[in-house]
Symmetry: C5
Subunit: 347 residues, 5 copies
């Protein structure tokens, strides 16, 4: 939402798609499913079919939204919420109408989530979506099968089925993130690299975004179950309780993933520290052995003149000078190796 | 607030601006908008205009405040709160008057936030600001357009519109901070430097300050919605609920940014550690290869006298002494390189 | 649960075992304990025995579940919950029937937990398990002993006994994890290795999974104690209160272990850092002593020609040149050692 | 409090000062302010003065306390709380008397906080302090000014004024701590030293101690405002609400400071890590350039005898041997420098 | 508790001591204090003494516990709780009897805590302890003094006195832990060693254990104060409120210590990092000065033959070759020192 946008003023996002309206009206025996060209067609809903589901995909035409709002008696502020597609999930009740705003996560990791708005009353349900998604397909499939519970239930049950479909959409990306983190863990243990860090960071932010849209859904379902909202039957409440359990499961998975993310960060840091030690050990072992040896060799590379004085490097002229020097060097090297083995630095 | 300042005593901040008063009185048909020279002018509000908005910019004259307080029946303690511009946002209700204290964030990052005080009752709204800001302009613009909802609503709706304008002012600096953190992340990944740390630290503190002023607003809006405050109509409460949703969104963004800040700190530390490893690897590889080689060269730089004994460095006089030494050195170097490649240290 | 699975549709997991049904009916005096071949046998429960416990192991046959559901009047959604074995523990009450879903932890560390579903009403209890476990054995043993309290109590007491048995199953794996962490701590202090990190990580995730299934049990027991559920007698509530205390104990142990896990992570990092210092100290001490000495030796290894000028390395021809050089070197080495001892780096 | 101290037994701390009692009785017109030598003098409070404030400084004489307790009907347990000067702030109400225990922070950082106990009823207020502090002076000053609100209010307003004075005492040390942390941040960025760490640690503990005494004050003020305590008038409650806002502000500052402290710790760690990299870079650059060069020089310092074989270091006798060696060395050095510049290690 | 232990079955821990029973019956005038050989002696409590305190030390004989349970009408589940000495503190009320389970901390750091079970009703109090401790001694001493409040109060006051004695037992080990942490801090600042880390780890776990037993006590005291439990008089509730304040103080100290523990961990890590820098600085300074110098010396140690060509190291034959080389070396060393001083690495 832009700061300063005027409340009470419907404004379409310039990038929004033009709306396509589809009507699905059904009862236990009969089913009507067709595209609707203009809102005027909806003035009279099909007779003899207890539930009419008007599904609007694309929010690009403010007039269509306004006409639908007038037709079904939806408060202007709620219509604005439909067009401003960054709303927090919530439920609002008005006389004769319950409004539910949800967010459907993108299926691929890091994908943008989309707002889904549901309005329902006695015998009708109006849904608004930014773009055609997959979430509602299973519900449509169920409606098409005669004899299913949904065919003999009311608009409140349809609302439940759609909400449940949206909640279940959270599971595939969560599973994908879980696998991604497992693979990250293995790769970090093998060889920690900064691009893994960036990947971890991105995963964290995806999880934070999913959490922001998933948390309010729990609260929302709770309200649908507990509050005496009009038009929600007891049987539907039982199903919503089940849906609530799914939402809680989604949140617990989310929180679990978030914790794992934090732990992977620690894991990365620890792995990097461990590798630093490995590197330093090699330098230290090489250095601590050869630097003293080089010094010994340096001593006998000095040019003090043994001719001038018996004190000037008489070793150079000893018969066994060289072998003794070599033995001294070997002694130093072996001593160092024993010291390092004691320290446990040589594996 | 200075410790020991006497409650019940109005004191102007010496740096405060002199007050300028502007009266905007309106009804569905008519609008009056003018500067007011003295409080006495307000003894009789324009007739036939249902809402009078008195906007005071500058808190430098205690007498003006006191006169306004007397005129509209505002408790002395609240007037003090107006002059002490570090109050926590809150709502207080008195008979015939509701007081709302808010904080408007600075638009630029790190900018000082300013206190906005609103008092409203039947047909009037009194606002106090430290200095002329931009926040109220869109509301004024709306009032000037005849036919807008605000023109036919009461002072409670005006209060809502102003609160909503202040809440929406939080979004631009939050967006700026978000972009700043994204750029920080990229720069840290490239080359972590302590000035980024300082920038991160400053960002954290800006967020903490914004949070301190934004949190109470949620609670405040909650009270305005739920409590049976006088003079707030049901229609306005619906709008306030929408405003409450915005405030929650602001808070969620704030919390998300705060978390990202903490993660960037980890990110910085991890990047620094990774670079430390890179640096150390170069030293280790150079050292571990050349230190042993230098030792070998040092050996044959010793001056043991081969004349004196056949044990003293006979290699020096061998025909292939030098080539053999070179081959030994190459062998050591190649061995080390293989070792490092196995460790995965050479890319 | 697969996204898009149709609610209200019973589907068996293809890997689920075929169900085996066992009936244990008992009263203070008599006990009947036998396998049941078909659900039809259960149409009439043994007469004169106040409690009938039907234990179903294996969830592979949807028809059997459906038949049991019809026989005991269990809501379809709950039967689905039985077949989808990743439910969150919960309690649901329906007229004439209380449903309790629990999770029994695997006994070995990292073992998969299994869902246990209990349904009970006046005089009967129906339990569903994925596979034969050990948890229910102690309860069966108690039932077989005549004169035990359980023999003269109702189905609600049996439900309590089974819940208590499941809650107590959490203690052995928690104890095993506790010992594992103690051993980890010792091994980390001795020599921190990345496989310990991976072990720690795995332990954390086992704990997180246990916690996800243990937390809801507390809430569930609370509901069983406080809510006026049908068929739970006051005496049983007293026992459930005791069971609630056990669940709280389990949760406190879990939280304690989780905290210890986090502390072990810090411990690992600190140990690695400490070892890094130890390694670096050895390199620094060796380097800082021998690098200057090698330089001194290098000086007198230079080939400036003393014949050409009295300024060219006259030391080489001094009578005491070599001893003086050795003394200088010793002085440098001793100075360094004193410096390091002052720093506290030599133990 | 010593473990095993007997409740119900008044015991003076041996280090406590002897009590000095001061009576300040006032009404709108008249004021009496004098030292009181013995408790007996207080048997009859000055007539015609609606409020009598008895301020006791020094808790060294149990008999005086007991006599005052008897005189004003204070429960023994509360008198004990007065003498044991490490109580948690709290409010307790008894018939005819409200007791408020507060803690006044030391003004200098790390200073000890002192307990302030207030008891008030109809027309009287009794205050106990460990030692003469500055907190009550502004209130006394206000009382001395005729015409001030306090002069025409009751003992409950006096209690409010004193509580408010104590709450405001938290601001100066918080401000000092804030400045201290800012200076710490700058010094850490410049050159992180362990004494800063110790200072940070001390700051954290001061904040933790302040928090322990400030948190209960909020709860305490809440009770004073909401509970129907005897003798607190509605007007005073309005003032207490203001005081409550100050307490919340103090707590928010405290929490903000605590968070900053944690962030400074991270800041320190990051700065130290960064400096470690800087140090290592210098070593790595120097080492990686000169170690290979020294090796090359070492090669041509070997003493293989060119006389014996044409393979033995023929370079030594080449006309351009030396310049070529120098060029090779320069090549290595320049190559390394280019490598380091690419890595971005040379600024 | 062993998984699978049968509820409702009293089982003594095989290591438990045999019970010793002591009866202390008292009233304002008279006191009886003696060992009791068998439970049968307690069938008739001493007449004319309003309070009878039966203190049982040692839980090794199930029959004695069962007999006492029958004598005083204690529920079997509670008797089990007495024998299973790892219960969470709790309060349970039954008709005519209140049960309080507490945990008394070990006085030495890391010492095992012991369960204390109190049951009281009209005129009697039954206490069970695992072994003779010191906690109850001050209460006995008070009872022995005629004229003390406890002598003229009921069993509820005795219960309060014992609970208060247990709560106060938490203070000495907390004080000891506080001092231990202070000493740790100093030692870490001086020279961080891994044994300090292990000590810190152990301290954390001791605190976690204390917390697990202290937290429920607060809740327990709250219930004793607020719930309308039978036989607790208003005067006793006032004392329990005081005891509640002590429990809160204990918890605040515990939380404070826990936070300090976490901070000490950070402190350790930071100190280790700082020392790493110190160590590395010494290596870097030594290396960066002497490695280039050694190279220069190495140059003039090369054996290029100046006889063969005027380009081969003519410096060696210059009159001032050696002094110039020394000056170059000095120049390099001084340059490096200036660089290090600028970096602030030489103090």
């Amino acid at each position: 939402m832009t700061a300063g946008a005027l409340p009470g003023q419907l404004q379409a996002d310039p990038d929004a798609l033009p709306p396509r309206i589809r009507l699905m009206a059904y009862g236990p025996e009969r089913l009507e499913d067709r595209e609707v060209a203009s809102v005027a067609e909806l003035d009279r809903l099909p007779e003899g079919l207890p539930v009419a589901w008007i599904d609007v995909v694309g929010l690009g035409d403010v007039d269509v939204l306004a006409a639908l709002g007038r037709r079904f008696g939806i408060h202007r502020l709620l219509l604005e919420d439909v067009t401003r597609t960054h709303q927090r999930p919530k439920v609002e009740d008005f006389p004769g109408c319950v409004a539910v705003l949800l967010r459907e996560p993108g299926l691929e990791v890091g994908g943008r989530d989309r707002q889904v708005s549901l309005f329902f009353g006695e015998g009708w349900l109006l849904s608004f979506r930014e773009s055609q998604g997959e979430a509602f397909e299973p519900v449509r499939a169920r409606i098409r099968q005669a004899g299913r519970l949904i065919r003999s239930s009311g608009a409140d049950y349809l609302a439940y089925a759609l909400i449940d479909a949206v909640v279940d959409r959270y599971l595939p990306p969560l599973e994908a993130l879980g696998e991604r983190m497992e693979s990250l863990q293995e790769r970090i243990l093998l060889d920690p690299q900064p691009d893994m860090l960036a990947e971890l960071f991105e995963t964290r932010q995806t999880l934070a975004a999913m959490r922001r849209s998933a948390w309010p859904m729990r609260e929302l379902l709770n309200r649908l179950i507990r509050d005496p909202l009009p038009g929600i039957e007891d049987e539907t409440r039982i199903h919503l309780r089940d849906c609530y359990d799914h939402a809680v499961l989604v949140l617990e998975l989310l929180e679990g993933h978030r914790e794992s993310c934090g732990e992977l960060m620690d894991f990365y840091l620890s792995s990097v520290s461990h590798r630093a030690n490995e590197i330093m050990k090699v330098l230290t072992i090489t250095g601590a052995i050869f630097i003293p040896l080089t010094f010994v060799a340096g001593i006998y590379g000095m040019n003090f003149d043994p001719e001038r004085s018996p004190y000037n490097m008489p070793e150079l002229r000893w018969a066994y000078g060289y072998p003794v020097a070599i033995v001294i060097m070997l002694g130093i090297a072996v001593g160092m190796l024993i010291f390092f083995r004691r320290k446990g630095w040589l594996r």
